[in-house]
């Protein structure tokens, strides 16, 4: 949907850009943007551990920001997921398109599949579901961050936002990178991205941190290692 350009709007574009140019009269006309020095002397990685240590660091940082972290193996993944849904007492779980079916093979919980091309789940339907289960695109160890890119097994952004309980599966070490500079090249900015570092939180009342405001108040991360 596009809005036709209003005549005033076109005028303002020229006006603002004209003012910007006039304000920069001191910049030599021949100067190119890349001639203005940007020294990228900062580090690519702060913690130089091996892949195993990266997973531990991710674990530690996620925990510090009050995510619940579970370690498991590929073979035991269905069991782990079934267990934590049972402990939570969840009656239903939202599933994105492309979620590996075996992940839920250990539980009889009600599935609430999202079908974005057919009838996507409404916000109210999502609000009524207890949990949501997804994978992720990449995880960043140094900051304890999960990045979701709305790809296969993750689904559109609303799925991991409205239900109060988010279970996110991370395959280690393949999906774990050390740092932000290493994460960015693996992500496609044309996709909608959600970067998650712990459950939602606020410090708006006397700067005292309270976990859980509008997003899922409980974030559980399942780190899958080995075979």
């Amino acid at each position: 949907m596009t809005t036709p350009h209003r005549p005033t709007a076109t005028g303002s574009r020229a006006r603002v850009l004209g003012r910007v140019r006039a304000a920069l009269a001191d910049v030599p006309p021949a100067e190119r943007p890349d001639e203005v020095l940007v020294a990228r002397d900062y580090l690519d990685v702060h913690d130089t551990g091996g892949p195993g240590e990266l997973t531990d660091l991710l674990h530690e940082n996620l925990t510090e920001y009050r995510a619940h972290v579970h370690r498991t193996t590929r073979a035991r993944l269905p069991e782990t997921i079934a267990e934590l849904l049972a402990v939570r007492g969840s009656g239903s779980v939202v599933t994105p398109p492309g979620l590996p079916p075996e992940w839920l093979s250990g539980t009889g919980i009600v599935r609430v599949p999202d079908d974005p091309t057919g009838t996507p789940l409404t916000a109210a339907r999502l609000d009524a579901a207890d949990s949501t289960l997804t994978g992720c695109a990449v995880a960043i160890a140094e900051t304890g961050t999960l990045v979701l890119d709305a790809g296969t097994g993750q689904g559109r952004r609303a799925l991991t936002l409205v239900p109060d309980h988010h279970v996110c599966v991370v395959r280690a070490p393949e999906q774990v990178v050390a740092s932000l500079p290493l994460a960015l090249p693996r992500l496609d900015p044309s996709r909608p991205l959600t970067w998650i570092s712990g459950p939602s939180a606020t410090s708006d009342i006397e700067l005292e941190r309270v976990e859980g405001v509008h997003g899922p108040r409980t974030l559980e991360v399942v780190l899958v290692t080995g075979s």
């Binding site: 559109r156 006397e206 005292e208």
Partner: protein, 476 residues
């Protein structure tokens, strides 16, 4: 010149407002507790990174590159956003931005919008402008909600209700929530967990039914047309994801060149702002995506005095600001006066340099703000994009002195105010400690022939090796 925003009308200038605020003991206790808590945490978060200085330098340089070639990056951004299905609008001033947003909302047929905390929309007084068009804007950030329900004004960039304690918040929720939607739960106590829960319940129905959202942007990537919003509570995600139409209002200085540049700013912003390695939620989006999120995306690019700021070669650096609020939290003057004394949505050290530049130094507020500082330099030390705020303050004082007349008269009163604030008995130790800690950084703060001339003609000494207070005692 762009039209000044109406937001500023009726505010007392800094000297008067500062006097009142410093006398308010409860406010001072709240402010002291809050600013000290966050400043210590920030120092620890920053100390974790061995390459902090390099990140800070790169951040400053990236912003410098962008500002020097702003037309190039703005045009690139516009093209990329348009290609991705968004529509770009240009607003020369606050009134035009408000008109554009109101018209876009009217076109949807809706009369309510949900809002993500945004400095730009506060600056232009968007909520008031929409109200005049019978459109209700609901603030969804917890602190903004407290401010809105309390019919109050924000006093901090990051924590706009920093001046309210839990008891006051409890009262506001009990008394006012019903006027705006779902009533506060019975037996609501002043426990922050319960207060946050009350906000969750109150706003839930608004999110689930909202059709139009208004947001700001922390960064806009020229190369890809990507918008970035950094937040904690999830209210941002709600607004950016659930409605059909999303309208983002952002200052033209929020553009950065490339996707890669986020590797700098997403490391420095959270640590400077909330003292976290990473904030709980960051959303990035590019135009519209089929089947995910809003179907219509509008970007309103705002000037509103930014080009006047850009034209000043010393003052220009204020446009690097990424609104982290670290400079507020370390400022001895801000700590004692609170944010309201600055009479602007941009309080603290950054407000003292930004407000006069955005809105002119002709008004009383504009002419007094550059004196709302002891030039101790703590703000420069913590700034993640290395804005030399003391340098800009001194430069603006020169400009005010040159203009004579009203500004000239105001100057003395304003100097007295900053001095009085710091001279207040309990204010002493911190101010002195800060001053001596940062002394080595001082000399370059009074650079150039302009400053020398100013100090001669204004009868002020070189910036002190001794504290502002000592200087003040001798000179008042």
């Amino acid at each position: 010149m762009s039209a000044p925003s109406e937001t500023f009308l009726g505010f007392p200038a800094f000297p008067e407002a500062a006097h009142d605020a410093v006398r308010d003991r409860e406010l001072r206790r709240t402010m002291r507790h809050a600013t000290h808590t966050i400043r210590d945490k920030r120092a620890r978060a920053v100390a974790e990174l061995a390459d902090w200085d390099e990140l800070r330098t790169a951040g400053a340089q990236l912003k410098e590159r962008t500002l020097r070639h702003l037309p190039h990056y703005l045009e690139q951004l516009e093209e990329a956003v348009t290609r991705a299905g968004g529509t770009v609008h240009w607003a020369a001033d606050a009134a035009e931005a408000n008109r554009i947003v109101a018209e876009l909302v009217r076109e949807t047929g809706e009369q309510e919008v949900v809002k993500v905390k945004s400095m730009a929309t506060q600056e232009i007084g968007l909520n008031e402008a929409l109200a005049a068009e019978d459109i209700t804007a609901y603030e969804t950030d917890l602190a903004e909600l407290i401010v809105q329900l309390g019919r109050d004004r924000p006093s901090h960039i990051l924590v706009p209700a920093i001046h309210r304690d839990r008891r006051q918040i409890q009262e506001i929720f009990r008394e006012r929530m019903a006027d705006w939607g779902r009533t506060a739960p019975e037996n609501l106590t002043d426990d922050p967990v319960q207060l946050a829960e009350a906000a969750r319940l109150h706003l839930r129905e608004k999110f689930l039914n909202a059709r139009v959202a208004v947001s700001g942007a922390n960064f806009m990537i020229a190369e890809t047309g990507t918008m970035v919003v950094v937040e904690s509570e999830g209210n941002g995600r709600m607004c950016l994801t659930l409605p059909d139409t999303l309208i983002t209002v952002a200052g033209i200085e929020k553009v950065v060149p490339t996707w890669r540049d986020l590797e700098v700013f997403l490391q420095t912003l959270p640590r400077s702002s909330t003292a976290e390695r990473m904030n709980p939620y960051t959303s990035t989006w590019t135009g519209t995506t089929d089947g995910d999120g809003p179907r219509a995306f509008h970007l309103v690019l705002l000037d509103n005095g930014r080009t006047d700021t850009l034209a000043d070669q010393v003052g220009r650096q204020a446009l690097r600001c990424i609104r982290c609020s670290a400079c507020l939290n370390v400022c001895p003057v801000y700590e004692r006066t609170g944010g309201h004394a600055y009479g602007s949505v941009y309080p603290g050290p950054i407000g003292a340099v930004l407000t006069p530049q955005l809105h002119g130094i002709q008004s009383e507020v504009g002419a007094s703000l550059p004196y709302a500082s002891s030039l101790c330099g703590a703000c420069y030390d913590v700034c993640p994009v290395a804005i030399d705020i003391p340098e800009v303050l001194v430069h603006l004082r020169e400009r005010i002195a040159e203009q004579g007349g009203k500004g000239h008269r105001l100057e003395k009163a304003a100097v007295n105010a900053a001095g009085w604030v710091l001279n207040h008995p309990r204010a002493l130790e911190v101010g002195e400690r800060l001053a001596s800690l940062t002394r080595r950084l001082q000399p370059k703060r009074l650079p150039g022939p302009g400053a020398a001339q100013w100090t001669r003609s204004r009868d002020l000494p070189e910036l002190p090796a001794r504290s502002f207070r000592a200087w003040w005692k001798e000179n008042r």
